[in-house]
């Protein structure tokens, strides 16, 4: 092996160690922030409109989040992306009965037009999100069903009154989508923010050239004194992954905040050596298999369990992580986050045990009992290379090993979601991506009443367990309900089959400091803590 090979191995080993152990505190490990410079980053998508309250794509969050603040945010240095810290709120308290959340706001916060931000603006923004008037779209209003009213008793206090206690509310208020807008502008036109930018964030808007780039410059009057460190930033929209890699490799861009594939990471490490730093994290995105419960034989839980038991997730993790964006074996919460299932407990679930031969023997037995020996079906998969296609091929190979014959049909990306909604499948690849790892946000789609319950399972036990965990105020009690929910969903009833957790890989210029990877590509894009070392 030559010097270059050794260097690559050493680099790979070093970032794997950092990413794997999580021992390095990014804030502590980095030097004193340096002011100046323009951060250039690549965005593989583009904002459809400018209003985060009505959009779902990171193509909006990445270039635009630096113009705004939220009431609460996720700690930009927390690798689990689950710790709420103040943003526009200076502090908060929660009433003993858990029904009133009171936030005290920072004073002297200015919008980019120089006007002061007060509780009136926070109330107007949350009223738009939670209680949108007719004709105004708000994609996440259902996540705030618990909120009865938002009040602004004085200019620097905001109060949320709840219908029932909900332990996840604080994290939900840290949603990266909940930008605080100016009340006066909303009062004049509720659609104003769809085409305009006016926030309190660390960077002001300069220009957006459609299909090309987005530019922001430092807000000299930013309320968090001393920040931001950068003079500005430039987001370049590049859809082709080869061109994204070329931009980083040619040092035309510092970073891309979504993810690269393992092969792209390796090529960048090989080409740039110490000029590149790699951060990795389990990703709050997942492919799972939905089976249509109204179609035989998938109405039989023995068949569903057999299909889960056939999967050698641990071996699959080793092999698939080399070629696509998946890695960890996980349960209903991202591994390494507060509500994740400990590995020892996970191994007790059907299909998660280490003895794959025993699992597959049980799978064959279950198929025989269900009269589904020699089962064959069509598996509908989304026509997207990563990670859908390799994961789909892996699934088919695993099922083949218990005597199941599967034909794979790729559905073009734009026809895929309608296909799921119509229920036009026996077995299909499904997916979800969250912005914060939190059971209340990740699990509602598995409720019997959910619009996204494409397999159409009816399970009142699942519904009840979800309610109980959501209202449990003690962590241990909540954990107990979550484990029961997970066992019911993935093992006893096997309503769905989880594959492997997505894995986020961010190789970036070593000049970029003050940015920490989290499990969500929607988080940590405000850029107020980011700086360039040269």
């Amino acid at each position: 092996m030559g010097h270059r090979g050794l260097r690559i191995l050493a680099l790979l080993a070093s970032f794997t160690l950092v990413a794997g152990t999580g021992l390095v505190d990014p804030a502590a490990a980095q030097d004193k922030p340096r002011h100046g410079g323009e951060l250039v980053f690549v965005v593989p998508s583009e904002p459809p409109s400018y209003d985060a309250h009505q959009e779902e794509t990171f193509g909006l969050i990445h270039p635009m989040a630096p113009h705004y603040n939220t009431l609460v945010r996720v700690d930009p240095f927390d690798k689990t992306g689950t710790k709420p810290v103040p943003d526009l709120a200076e502090s908060w308290n929660i009433s003993k009965d858990g029904l009133i959340y009171t936030f005290k706001l920072h004073r002297g916060v200015k919008f980019h037009d120089g006007s002061e931000m007060t509780s009136k603006d926070v109330k107007a923004s949350y009223d738009k999100i939670i209680f949108p008037p007719a004709g105004v779209k708000s994609l996440r209003k259902d996540a705030y069903r618990v909120v009865e009213v938002v009040e602004a008793p004085d200019p620097y206090t905001v109060r949320f009154r709840l219908k029932w206690p909900e332990s996840s509310l604080l994290l939900n208020l840290a949603s990266p989508w909940n930008w605080i807008y100016k009340a006066d502008l909303l009062a004049k036109d509720m659609h104003w923010y769809e085409k305009n930018v006016m926030g309190t964030g660390p960077f002001t808007f300069v220009e957006h050239v459609k299909g090309s780039h987005w530019v922001g410059k430092k807000n000299p009057n930013y309320w968090d004194k001393g920040k931001p460190y950068l003079d500005g930033y430039r987001a370049i929209f590049i859809s082709a992954s080869s061109a994204q890699v070329a931009a980083i490799r040619g040092e035309r861009a510092h970073i891309q905040f979504r993810s690269f594939s393992p092969a792209e990471r390796d090529s960048l490490v090989q080409a740039l050596g110490p000029k590149i730093t790699v951060q990795e994290s389990p990703w709050d995105c997942l492919n799972f298999v939905s089976m249509h419960h109204e179609k035989k034989p998938f109405n039989d839980k023995r068949v569903r369990r057999a299909l889960s038991l056939a999967l050698d997730r641990y071996e699959g993790s080793k092999n698939l992580s080399k070629i696509t964006l998946v890695r960890d074996v996980g349960g209903i919460q991202v591994p390494g986050t507060p509500w994740a299932t400990p590995p020892a407990e996970l191994e007790k679930l059907a299909g998660y045990g280490r003895d794959i031969n025993a699992n597959r023997a049980e799978a064959r037995k279950l198929l025989k009992e269900a009269g589904a020996e020699g089962l064959s079906f069509t598996f509908k998969n989304r026509g997207i290379p990563h990670p859908y296609e390799p994961v789909g091929i892996w699934l088919i190979d695993q099922w083949r090993q218990i005597g199941v014959t599967v034909k794979q049909e790729f559905i073009e990306a734009s026809a895929y979601h309608p296909m799921l909604k119509r229920g036009d499948f026996e077995v299909a690849m499904d997916f979800q991506c969250g912005f914060i790892v939190e059971p209340d946000l990740d699990l509602p789609r598995f409720l019997s009443t959910s619009d996204a319950n494409y397999g159409k399972h009816k399970d009142t036990v699942i519904d009840d367990l979800f309610q109980k965990q959501a209202r449990a105020m003690e962590p241990e009690e909540r954990r107990k309900y979550l484990r029961a929910f997970e066992k019911r969903l993935l093992d006893e009833e096997a309503h769905v089959i989880y594959t492997l957790q997505w894995h986020r890989i961010i190789p970036h210029s070593s000049k970029v400091k003050g940015w920490t990877i989290t499990p969500s590509h929607y988080l940590n894009n405000q850029l107020d803590t980011v700086w360039l070392s040269e």
């Binding site: 779209k137 769809e194 459609k210 080869s242 035309r252 309608p418």
Partner: protein
């Protein structure tokens, strides 16, 4: 001649109408829905109520014929509506991309013409000599090499040899000519080479054919200077098929450089086309198809004028 041109001009409109009808129907036949795509995003869970509200907003709840009547009424006033994906006026979406694509097409055409006409003429004049063989190898290689592949080779060569990459963002030529050319010269060379290959071969065969014509023999018999025979009699007549090829290729380049645009990250019409189809952005797809069809039809019309200028038989018909 005016009658001939008027007839050609009038034919443009039914052609455009036909394109409009076929496109309008076809894009609604393909599966997928802009509303679901836009709202489902990465997370994929939206209520039917919200989906229906959006469909009503875009008029997608109306029968197709009514949607077409609304669209054609707007198109008659040159109002192609707003993008269903971004909500911006269609013209805003297309304007910048068109400027870039037009410039790349123009630069590629210049590269192609500068290579093709001299090489084609020389190859024809030196038929079956080493010069002819070299030109033929050069042009066949051009035909066999996809321009996006050549683009990738250019990028890798620039990265590896010069540790330099063309700018990633388009700068209009009147803002910064150097920056503009530094970005666009590479795709123009990559595309222009393939384009020139087609035109070289056409020039060569057309020249060979013309050089065997009776009027060339007559000109030579009259004692005309060879240079004059070639420029005034041979080349002018040989240019008819060559111009057709150049015009068709030029029109194709406006919307057809999808992969090359991706390789060089060019914010052009081709890439916009792909995005519009991927998003099922009906209004944008319709406008782009009309734009490209319009350019093809316009180029065809210009060719008709050129034919009339170059060929007196058409002029005096």
């Amino acid at each position: 001649m005016w009658k001939y041109l008027l007839k050609r001009f009038a034919l443009m409109f039914p052609t455009l109408l036909g394109v409009a009808v076929v496109t309008f129907i076809l894009i609604r036949v393909i599966p997928g829905d802009v509303v679901e795509l836009r709202l489902a995003g990465d997370r994929g869970s939206v209520s039917d109520e919200m989906l229906n509200a959006e469909r009503i907003k875009f008029g997608l709840d109306q029968p197709v014929w009514r949607q077409f009547v609304t669209w054609i009424a707007g198109a008659a006033r040159l109002d192609f509506g707003t993008s269903m994906w971004t909500g911006s006026p269609i013209w805003d979406e297309i304007r910048l991309r068109f400027a870039l694509s037009f410039q790349v097409a123009l630069m590629s055409t210049i590269v192609a013409v500068l290579l093709a006409i001299p090489l084609g003429v020389i190859a024809a004049l030196r038929q079956d000599t080493w010069v002819d063989y070299t030109v033929r190898i050069f042009s066949i290689a051009g035909l066999a090499t996809p321009s996006f592949w050549l683009g990738i080779v250019f990028i890798l060569a620039l990265l590896i040899l010069f540790k330099w990459l063309p700018p990633m963002v388009y700068t209009p030529i009147w803002v910064n000519p150097w920056q503009n050319l530094a970005q666009l010269i590479w795709p123009a060379l990559a595309v222009g080479y393939r384009y020139s290959a087609v035109a070289t071969r056409m020039t060569r065969s057309a020249m060979l054919e013309v050089l065997r014509e009776d009027y060339i023999r007559t000109a030579r018999a009259k004692g005309l200077v060879e240079k004059l025979i070639l420029s005034r009699h041979a080349l002018k007549n040989a240019m008819l098929p060559v111009l057709t090829v150049i015009a068709i290729e030029f029109a194709f380049l406006i919307g057809g450089l999808v992969v090359t645009e991706q390789v060089f990250n060019l914010n052009g019409v081709g890439l916009l086309f792909v995005q519009a189809v991927a998003h099922r952005d009906y209004t944008l797809i319709q406008a782009l198809v009309m734009l490209v069809a319009g350019i093809f039809i316009l180029m065809n019309f210009l060719m008709d004028i050129m034919y009339a200028w170059l060929d007196p038989r058409i002029r005096y018909r």
